[in-house]
């Protein structure tokens, strides 16, 4: 049975599992956090406390994609609108009932040493397991000189972190904003300030869309909108990239609680493979409720079992060594697309993608006879389309006609004329076709030639050794 417990994260934080609720609407009250722990969450980062604020409504807008809701979620909600006393009292109560579930408190106060000292003292007295400094909130609070207004300036980040560390007895995490030119400048500043760990990423500045009737962007607060913070599945690739940057930089790397678009165990494993010790989730729990954690924990365990990992440390950071600069890529590695005729459904999306967005080497010529090499010798998409739009089609009204139409197939489930063919002499191996193909494993990239004599751009220009061993 794989062990998914977290040991000594950022020095001193233990947790029953690495899945923590991120600071946000899902950790706004003690009642919520207790239900979340009951559902299976391994920890919670309490919604940012400081001086209570008044929120505007509506607070959210989203990007739907292709009929699916909330591919991305934009929020203009600020920090907690409840008093410090209320938050700390509930927090202490939760700790009483759930002593083994870590509660980290997200903090944001004005940039004064005494203000930070005071809030650190009060929250730690309430019994928290760690502190997360919110230097990342992109909306609203920065206008007041807090949140990302601090997190975008390395000097402020370092200074405030060191103020907190003067006072703190529990581990201090600094939460990083992605809305910077180089996240490593901020991460390394936090490290210099004495941070015990990092949390990344915070939400990304966003305007999700504009109502084409009212011309007001969303969310529409009485006729006016304001940019918010973007989260949800859409931001995962951006978050992974920033996590990789932080963890690959010796001056920045610290124990990292990763987040940004994590919706399931697969996403979580990816963050861990890039070095995260724990992961945080918000949008997925806002969308489907706390129960999303059930599959996260089970999925992680089952994956670890399949791969033979017994603890989280067994695989943490294993993919970091598989990311390198472009100049270290093997330019001799040659692959071509291969279409499996048995599973091709004949949508021809690879054909049009290759002609319009690729390198014009997937053709509709299985019936007329393959011609390799010359693009000009092939019928382009307009000709293919013109031919079928000008063909004469009739309804098969008799039994014989219907039988004839059904039998007109050839050796594969899809009529041969509708199965595209890859001209391997021209294929660049770009793999766009595998991405547009709706059928799993129908188009695969097959290695051709011998890539054992690897050559990188770096070697071409300097003659040095290969940085990453090519995968076989």
């Amino acid at each position: 049975m794989p062990d998914i417990r977290v040991h000594q994260f950022a020095g001193r934080i233990d947790a029953p599992n690495p899945f923590w609720l991120a600071s946000g609407p899902t950790t706004n009250s003690g009642e919520q956090v207790m239900r979340a722990f009951d559902a299976g969450w391994g920890g919670a980062v309490w919604k940012t406390i400081g001086n209570p604020i008044t929120n505007a409504s509506p607070r959210y807008s989203s990007v739907d994609w292709n009929g699916m809701r909330m591919m991305g979620l934009n929020s203009i909600e600020l920090t907690s609108d409840r008093t410090l006393e209320e938050n700390l009292r509930e927090l202490g109560e939760v700790k009483k009932y759930y002593p083994y579930h870590p509660i980290i408190v997200s903090l944001m106060v004005e940039t004064k040493r005494e203000a930070w000292h005071e809030i650190v003292q009060r929250t730690e007295d309430a019994g928290v397991d760690g502190l997360e400094l919110n230097f990342g909130g992109p909306h609203g609070m920065d206008e007041r000189g807090m949140g990302s207004a601090v997190g975008q300036v390395p000097e402020y980040t370092e200074k405030i972190t060191s103020w907190v560390k003067e006072k703190a007895r529990t581990p201090v995490l600094v939460k990083l904003s992605p809305n910077v030119t180089d996240i490593r400048a901020i991460a390394s500043a936090a490290r210099r300030g004495g941070a015990d760990g990092l949390a990344a990423i915070n939400t990304i500045n966003s305007i999700t869309g504009i109502d084409l009737d009212t011309l007001v962007p969303q969310p529409n607060v009485d006729g006016v909108s304001t940019p918010g913070g973007y989260a949800g599945p859409a931001v995962k690739p951006i978050a992974l990239n920033l996590v990789q940057q932080i963890m690959s930089d010796p001056a920045s790397a610290l124990p990292l609680s990763g987040m940004g678009g994590i919706s399931n165990w697969r996403d979580a494993v990816e963050f861990m493979l890039l070095g995260c010790g724990t992961v945080q989730v918000c949008t997925a729990a806002m969308h489907y409720g706390y129960r999303v954690v059930e599959d996260m924990a089970e999925g992680l365990e089952n994956w670890m079992r399949t791969k033979g990992y017994s603890t989280l440390d067994d695989f943490r950071g294993l993919s970091l060594g598989r990311v390198a600069d472009w100049k270290s890529l093997n330019l001799s590695y040659k692959i071509v697309a291969h279409i499996d005729e048995q599973t091709c459904i004949g949508c021809d999306l690879c054909h049009i993608a290759c002609w319009d967005g690729g390198h014009q080497c997937i053709h509709m010529d299985r019936v007329s006879g393959p011609v390799n090499g010359q693009v000009e010798l092939h019928d382009g998409p307009p000709t293919v389309e013109f031919r079928s739009r000008n063909s004469i089609a009739t309804t098969p009204v008799t039994r014989q006609e219907r039988a004839a139409a059904a039998s007109n197939h050839g050796p594969y489930p899809t009529p041969l004329a509708k199965i595209p063919r890859v001209d391997e002499t021209e294929c660049t191996g770009c793999n766009l076709c595998t991405l547009v193909c709706p059928v799993d494993e129908c188009i695969t990239m097959v290695q051709v030639g011998d890539s054992s004599r690897a050559e990188t751009f770096d070697q071409r220009s300097s003659g040095s050794e290969l940085a990453v061993e090519p995968q076989r």
């Binding site: 009929g67 004949g346 949508c347 021809d348 999306l349 079928s388 008799t398």
Partner: protein, 442 residues
């Protein structure tokens, strides 16, 4: 002509609830988003009018409903009725790649209807090209789908077209011959009205039955398009066929659709097993007949009706009597019909009666639905128009007959297919006529 000629009959509406109800807006978007947007899509290739199916479906998913409807109408001016009456199972939806993707095909017919309904609700008129000064003049004989499509296509490109229809109402079988739960008469008339508003002139109640009438048309118009359909239903040629209670399927369907027959009772026997027979049997049941038999001289595997039509009829409660042939119709003392039938076996392509298998069905109506005989009378008058088995022979690319001024399309030249085939024929003929006219002026 106006759509007010046949008021919506609430009783009829109640009895003939639509078998394919409209999609709700969000359901339409969800369905539209399932479409893979194939390139050179097989649905488009399978459609006789080559509607850009992925094109109109993607427009639904983005909320560009006007663009979606215009995309449909661009290829098929009767896109509204085709959305409801097309046997999509053997056309676009049958060709959908989703069948090979372990999934149900996209509901193309219902999406097409969604786009067309929303366009019709706006009441927007279709734009036509400005009439050219030396425009070509075309008379379309017969007011069904083929002529409507031909005339509309001509009109859109600045030509002048009229339609001559012997009935009071336009639309042909779309108006008089399609089961009410698929297409309502008012929908067909509204579609014809849209084409009239495009500038097509309608002459109704005008039959062309003599050589003189044709010669007159020839002098008035540059080209003639024959969209005359098939003739009367074939007779069974058995004794007693002409008595009260025996009416052919098309006559029966037209009667209930135009409000002349609103109720039935007792037992109905439909003779034949094509799609029209199914329509008639289902309609008889919905009009109140307690027992409906469908009598067919061959077996289940030989019936020409589409599989989904057969399934539909079974769900409606129609009972099928296979390998049985009627040979006489009599009446009993209570005035009911007695249909004499006999079991037959097919041996070497001929049907032989089985001895001692005679059986009398006591019933109230007999509805023969055994195909339409080709309408040839009119064109037999004309020289140089070749017929084969009573069907007008045309060049499949253009619809042109042996007489270069005459074109033909729809059932009279394709032998009896679907509405969408008639539209495709009419459109091809119109394009060929425009091409000839253009070449002549140039």
């Amino acid at each position: 002509m106006s759509t007010a000629s046949i008021p919506d009959d609430l009783l009829l509406r109640d009895r003939f609830t639509e078998i394919k109800p409209p999609l709700a807006p969000q359901a339409a978007v969800i369905e539209a988003n399932r479409c893979l947007n194939c390139f050179d899509a097989p649905c488009t290739a399978a459609c006789p009018t080559h509607i850009d199916v992925p094109g109109f479906i993607k427009r639904i998913s983005t909320g560009n409903l006007r663009g979606s409807a215009l995309r449909i109408l661009d290829a098929n001016i009767l896109g509204g009725s085709c959305a409801k009456v097309c046997p999509v199972e053997v056309l676009c939806e049958g060709a959908c790649v989703m069948h090979r993707y372990n999934s149900e095909p996209i509901q193309i017919g219902r999406l097409q209807r969604y786009a067309m309904d929303s366009f019709q609700a706006t009441g927007e008129e279709l734009l036509t090209a400005p009439r050219r000064s030396r425009n070509v003049q075309v008379a379309c004989i017969g007011g069904g789908p083929a002529s409507l499509a031909c005339a509309a296509e001509l009109c859109r490109h600045g030509a002048h077209a009229i339609i001559i229809e012997r009935n009071e109402l336009l639309g042909g079988l779309n108006t008089y011959g399609i089961a009410e739960y698929k297409l309502r008469t008012s929908d067909s008339l509204r579609e014809a009205d849209m084409i009239r508003r495009m500038g097509v002139e309608f002459r109704t109640g005008a039959a062309i039955e003599t050589a003189e009438a044709l010669e007159e048309l020839e002098s008035e118009f540059d080209f003639l398009f024959l969209g005359v359909g098939l003739g009367a239903m074939q007779r069974m040629n058995i004794p007693g066929e002409d008595q009260k209670g025996v009416l052919n399927a098309l006559e029966f369907i037209a009667s209930y659709k135009t409000g002349r027959l609103r109720e039935m009772a007792g037992t109905v026997v439909v003779v034949g097993a094509g799609n029209t027979a199914i329509d008639a049997a289902s309609a008889a049941h919905r009009l109140g007949a307690e027992t409906v038999y469908l009598l067919y001289r061959r077996g289940e595997r030989e019936m020409t009706a589409f599989d989904f039509e057969y399934e539909h009829a079974k769900h409606e409660g129609v009972q099928f009597l296979w390998r049985r042939q009627p040979y006489a119709i009599r009446t009993n003392e209570r005035g009911r019909l007695l249909l004499d039938t006999v079991q037959v076996n097919e041996i070497d392509n001929s049907l032989l009666p089985v001895p001692n298998s005679e059986y009398v069905i006591e019933c109230d109506y007999v509805i023969p639905a055994i195909g339409q005989s080709p309408f040839a009378q009119l064109v037999q008058e004309l020289r140089r128009i070749e017929l084969r088995n009573g069907i007008i022979v045309v060049d499949p690319e253009t619809g042109q007959t042996g007489n270069s001024r005459y074109f033909a399309g729809g059932d009279c030249s394709n032998g009896g297919r679907e509405v969408v085939d008639a539209v495709a024929d009419g459109k091809r003929a119109a394009r060929a006529i425009l091409k000839i006219a253009e070449a002549a002026y140039a």
